[in-house]
Symmetry: C2
């Protein structure tokens, strides 16, 4: 079964591939195609943006499509950058520019008030219009400097309190085990498994 | 959700519509379209022919497709006409010509040796290649003359021993309750219901 993963972010695609490994699915990221239209992420929530992307590309490709929308909510900043996480420092900002801006906003804030959470929504939409949403979240603290080279986005400044490490210090497998995206993907994996199995339930077998 | 029903037989379509009533599906028979290619039913079993049709039209329309292949197996004739039931008296034979030929073949055979069974296979194939088969069968006897105006095919000469009526004397609802096709459709209905529900299993609800 083919599934479109509605993202051009290779970091997200890697995590999704890893979390869905072993399923009989063939995943295509948007970078596998040329001249793919963009979708305006103008929704008011992760769910709205994820659904918007999954709906659009499931119709565009005529295939089952999953889309991730995720972001970082910082307590001391009233939950921002939230849905604006990827464009916090500007519409085409790099991950590094976004992290730099966040560290600047939090200058002088002590570690006890640097709590934050990653949120992830995975939306899945079939060409015939059936829709699923799963979510995952993960608590931690924003550090004072970048640590670790793995992951992407805010990972190098997101400290997992219990592990004493940033998200960027984890291997792909470790990150998926505890991250917001990994949690949402485990729920999605169950739905895909049932979706694949359902046609064979209660069926007769024929010799041909 | 839209489903293609791969048949031009309005009698079959009526029974399928009735058996799937109440599901949130919109059924299209092949007569709803123009210039639809035909599929050669050259398989060696009901399942093979049903799958062949469902596979072809699911790709042709890009939609979930169900196809029925069914027939009558007469004990005294070694299980014929079987998969050739619709063309027993010739490639474009009418239902009446087929019944007439069968009654002629069974001339002189006493009621005790006129046992027969209807068989039905429903095949369902999704555009992404998932496949289901369900089956149903129904025992009876071949009468000596046509009785009843309902149904189609061999119904007027197929006597349901327990009911003392031919299949053509039953209302659509009664026929679906006991017929080969009705039984196969009840199993298919369960699969469609799960197929529709599965995306909502384990999902979170969002306020938008």
């Amino acid at each position: 079964m083919e599934i479109i993963v509605a993202t051009k972010n290779q970091g997200k695609l890697r995590e999704i591939r890893s979390a869905l490994k072993g399923l009989q699915v063939h995943l295509h990221g948007l970078n596998d195609f040329q001249n793919v239209p963009e979708v305006d992420e103008d929704g008011k929530s992760f769910a709205e943006n994820g659904l918007k992307k999954a709906r659009f590309y499931s119709q565009f490709f005529g295939k089952l499509t999953i889309a991730d929308d995720s972001g970082l909510e910082v307590d001391a900043l009233g939950g921002t950058p939230g849905i604006y996480s990827a464009r916090y420092a500007g519409i085409r900002a790099s991950d590094q520019e976004n992290r730099k801006k966040l560290l600047k906003e939090l200058e002088g804030v002590p570690i006890s008030r640097r709590g934050a959470g990653f949120k992830c929504v995975m939306a899945m939409v079939s060409p015939d219009g059936r829709e699923a949403l799963t979510e995952g979240s993960c608590r931690g603290r924003i550090g004072f400097k970048e640590v670790g080279k793995r992951g992407f986005g805010y990972d190098p400044i997101f400290i997992l309190t219990r592990h004493g490490k940033t998200m960027a210090q984890l291997s792909l497998e470790e990150k998926n085990r505890i991250s917001h995206r990994g949690k949402a993907l485990r729920k999605l994996r169950k739905i895909i498994t049932k979706f694949q199995a359902i046609f064979y339930d209660g069926c007769v077998t024929y010799e041909r």
